[in-house]
Amino acid sequence: MIIRRSALVILMCLEIMLSAANLALVAFSRFRLEAGLPDYDGQMLVFFVITVAAAEVAVGLAIVVALFRSRRTIDVTTLTSMSH
C-alpha cells in the first residue's frame, strides 16, 4: 500500500487489509473454543468491520473522484500541497 502511487490502488489495498483482518478474526474465533462452541465475539466484530469498510469505501471513492476532478490526477506523489 505504501509504495503505490495511485490513490485508487491505495484504497483497494486498504480493502484487502481489512479483508485479511476479517479472515483472521473469523479463523481465530473458530479456534478459540469455549465449552465446544467458537468465540462469537470475533465473528460479530467482522460484521461491524464490513459495515464500516463499506462506508469508508463510499467516502474514499468520493474523495478520489473529487480529487481527480480538481487536479486531473490521482498520483499521490504529486499531491504535496499540504507541506506548504
Binding site: M1, I2, R4, I10, V76, T80, M82
Partner: protein
C-alpha cells in the same frame, strides 16, 4: 482639636485645588493660603497641649513588626511646626503678589500645599517609617516646585538633580531604618528610646554607629551637606518664594530636625557624633568659601544656607540638639526674610538676578533695604539680633567640645560677614549698573508686609521670653565673654573687609577661579557620571546582553526555533510518507503497550 487637623488641612487644600479649583489660579491661591493660615491657627491653639496619639495600626506582622500612623506632639514638634506654618503663611501671602502673573498659579499653590502637608507629616511623625514616607513626599513636592517653570531647560535639570541627589541620601536613610529595625525590632521613636534605655546598646555598639550614620545619610541629602550639597544652589531655579520656604527655612532643615529627633541614637555613639560634627563643620566652611565668589543673588543666599545648615549639623554632632534647633528656628526667620527680600529685588529688577547688574537700590526700595539689612545683621550675628544668640550658643558648645571645630566655626562667621556685606554693598549701594536697576520701584504692600513681620521676628526671636513663648528649643549655655569677643571680632573684621573691598566697585575686583567654580564639585561629579557610572553601565549592559538576553531569553527562543526546524522536515505533504510514519507510530505504541507493561 487634635494635631491631626494640621495634617488634614493642607491635604484638603491639595485635593480641592487639583480636583476642584484647578481652572482658577486666584481661587486656588486663596484655598491654599486659607489652609496654611488655618494650620498656623491650629498650631497656636495647640501650643499648650502635649499629646501623642496613634491614629491607626498600619502594618502589623504578628509580634515582628508594628508600624503605626501616629502623631507626636511634643515641644520639639510644636517649635518646628510653628516655624513651618508661620514662614509658610508669610511665603504663601508673598507668593500671591510674586506669582500674580504666572500662568500655572493653581499648580504652584497646589504644590505648595502638598509641601505643607508633607512637611507637617515629617514634623509630627512618631516613627521612622512614617517619617520616611513624608520625607519622600517632601522630595517630590520640592521636585515639582523647583521645576515649576519646566519649559526652561535649566529648571527641569535642576529639579532632576535635586531629586536624584536626594535619592542617594534617602537610600542610606532607608538602610539605616532597616538596620535599626533589625537591631531593635521597632521603628517608633519611643520604642527606640526604651530599647536604648534598657541598656542593650553595649553589645551592638558598632551596628548602632553604622545605623546612626546611615540615618545621617538621609540628612546629608535633605539638608544638602557635603558631598551631596550640589543640588541646593541649582534648586534656586525655582520661584523665589519656594526657595525661601523650602530651600532655606523648612525642608532643608528637616534633615537637622530628623537628627534631633533621633538625637538619643547619636548620643549613644561617639563615633557617629564625631563624623556628623565634622561633616557639618566641613560643609559650613566649604559653602562659606564658595559664597564669597558668586554673582547670583540667590546663589549667594543658597550657599549661605548650606553654611548655616553646616553649623546646625555640626552642633547636633557635638551633642546639642537644642542649640541646633534654636539656630534652625532663628535661621528660618532671617533666611526666609533674606530670600523674600531677594525675591522683592528680583521682582523689582524684572527678573535680574546678577548682583553686578543691580546697585543703588537703597534709595529706590527703602523698605526692602531696611528689611534685607536686618536679615543680614541677624545672619552675620550682629549683637542682640536673633542670629547672634543662636550662633553664640553654637560657638560656645564648639569651644567646649572640640577646639578645632570652634576655629572653623569662627572662620565661617568671618566669611559669613564678608560675603553678606559684599552682597549688601553691591546690591543696594553705589550707582545702578543696569537699566532695570535704575527703574526699580518699591514692591507692593502684600510683598513687604511679610518682609516686615519676618524682620521683626529676626530681631526679637532670639530673646529667651520670646523663644519660650514660641516653643523653641533653648540650649543650656552660659554667657561666655571669650566667645562673645571672638564672634564680635570676626563679624566686624568680615563686614569691614567686605565694605571696604566692594564699595563703589563695578565688577568683581579679583576672581578666584576655584571658589567661583564651587571647588569643581559639579565638574567632578560630571566626570564620575560620564566615566565611572557609564563604564559600569556598559559592563552591566554587556553582561545583560550575554547572559540574560543571550542565554536565558534568546537561548529559549533559539532552542524552540531549532526543534521546530527539525520537525518541519517531517511535513513533506507526501501521503505515503505520512502513512509510513503512521505505521511506525502504531508499532511504537504497540511496543509500549504490550511489551513494556
Amino acid at each position: 482639636m487634635s494635631p491631626a487637623l494640621l495634617l488634614l488641612l493642607p491635604l484638603l487644600s491639595v485635593v480641592v485645588i487639583f480636583f476642584g479649583t484647578k481652572w482658577s489660579g486666584t481661587l486656588s491661591a486663596l484655598v491654599s493660603v486659607a489652609s496654611v493660615a488655618g494650620s498656623l491657627g491650629v498650631t497656636l491653639a495647640l501650643f499648650s497641649t502635649d499629646s501623642s496619639m496613634v491614629a491607626m495600626n498600619w502594618i502589623a506582622l504578628g509580634d515582628v513588626l508594628q508600624v503605626d500612623i501616629g502623631l507626636r506632639w511634643d515641644r520639639l514638634a510644636r517649635g518646628m511646626m510653628f516655624v513651618v506654618t508661620l514662614v509658610g503663611t508669610l511665603v504663601h501671602v508673598f507668593s500671591l503678589a510674586y506669582m500674580r502673573e504666572d500662568e500655572a498659579k493653581a499648580r504652584y499653590f497646589g504644590c505648595l500645599s502638598l509641601f505643607m502637608f508633607s512637611m507637617t507629616g515629617i514634623v509630627l511623625a512618631d516613627n521612622l517609617v512614617m517619617m520616611f514616607i513624608f520625607w519622600e513626599l517632601v522630595g517630590v513636592s520640592s521636585y515639582l516646585l523647583i521645576g515649576h517653570w519646566f519649559t526652561k531647560a535649566s529648571a527641569a535639570d535642576a529639579a532632576k538633580k535635586a531629586f536624584i541627589t536626594n535619592r542617594i541620601g534617602d537610600f542610606g536613610f532607608l538602610i539605616g531604618i532597616l538596620m535599626l529595625f533589625g537591631l531593635t525590632g521597632t521603628v517608633s521613636f519611643t520604642g527606640l528610646e526604651n530599647w536604648l534605655a534598657g541598656g542593650h546598646a553595649g553589645a551592638s555598639a558598632g551596628l548602632l554607629t553604622a545605623a546612626a550614620l546611615c540615618l545621617f545619610c538621609g540628612a546629608v541629602g535633605k539638608s544638602a551637606q557635603a558631598p551631596l550639597h550640589v543640588w541646593l544652589p541649582d534648586a534656586m531655579e525655582g520661584p523665589t518664594p519656594v526657595s525661601a520656604l523650602i530651600h532655606a527655612a523648612t525642608m532643608v532643615a528637616a534633615g537637622v530636625f530628623m537628627l534631633v529627633r533621633v538625637g538619643f541614637l547619636i548620643e549613644a555613639s561617639e563615633t557617629a557624633g564625631l563624623v556628623i560634627a565634622w561633616v557639618g563643620g566641613f560643609t559650613a566652611l566649604l559653602a562659606a568659601l564658595m559664597a564669597t565668589q558668586q554673582d547670583d543673588i540667590k546663589k549667594i543666599l543658597a550657599y549661605s544656607t548650606l553654611s548655616q545648615l553646616g553649623y546646625m549639623v555640626m552642633v547636633v554632632g557635638l551633642g546639642s540638639g537644642e542649640a541646633a534647633m534654636f539656630h534652625l528656628y532663628t535661621h528660618a526667620f532671617f533666611k526666609a526674610l533674606l530670600f523674600l527680600g531677594a525675591g522683592a529685588i528680583i521682582y523689582a529688577c524684572h527678573h535680574e538676578q546678577n548682583i553686578w547688574k543691580m546697585g543703588g537700590l537703597k534709595t529706590r526700595m527703602p523698605i526692602t533695604f531696611a528689611a534685607f539689612g536686618i536679615g543680614t545683621l541677624a545672619l552675620i550675628a550682629f549683637p542682640f539680633t536673633s542670629g547672634f544668640f543662636s550662633k553664640e550658643a553654637i560657638l560656645d558648645i564648639a569651644l567646649h567640645e572640640n577646639k578645632l571645630l570652634f576655629l572653623i566655626a569662627a572662620g565661617v562667621a568671618f566669611l559669613t560677614a564678608f560675603y553678606m556685606s559684599r552682597l549688601l554693598v553691591v546690591t543696594f549701594l553705589g550707582a545702578p549698573r543696569s537699566e532695570h536697576a535704575g527703574h526699580a520701584k518699591e514692591v507692593s504692600v502684600i510683598m513687604f508686609v511679610p518682609l516686615l513681620i519676618l524682620a521683626f521676628l529676626s530681631v526679637v526671636a532670639g530673646y529667651k521670653p520670646v523663644a519660650e513663648l514660641l516653643q523653641a528649643q533653648l540650649p543650656d549655655v552660659h554667657w561666655n565673654w571669650f566667645v562673645f569677643f571672638v564672634s564680635l571680632a570676626t563679624m566686624l573684621a568680615g563686614a569691614g573687609l567686605g565694605f571696604l573691598r566692594y564699595l563703589d566697585k563695578r565688577s568683581e575686583p579679583k576672581v578666584i577661579p576655584v571658589l567661583a567654580n564651587k571647588f569643581y564639585f559639579d565638574e567632578a561629579y560630571g566626570w564620575a557620571v560620564r566615566n565611572l557610572q557609564d563604564g559600569l553601565a556598559w559592563v552591566v549592559r554587556g553582561l545583560d546582553a550575554l547572559f540574560i538576553d543571550g542565554l536565558a531569553v534568546g537561548g529559549i527562543t533559539r532552542l524552540t526555533e531549532g526543534v521546530g526546524c527539525l520537525f518541519r522536515r517531517v511535513i513533506t505533504g507526501n501521503l505515503q510518507a505520512y502513512s509510513y510514519l503512521f505505521g511506525v507510530g502504531v508499532f511504537v505504541l504497540i511496543y509500549f503497550t504490550v511489551f513494556l507493561r
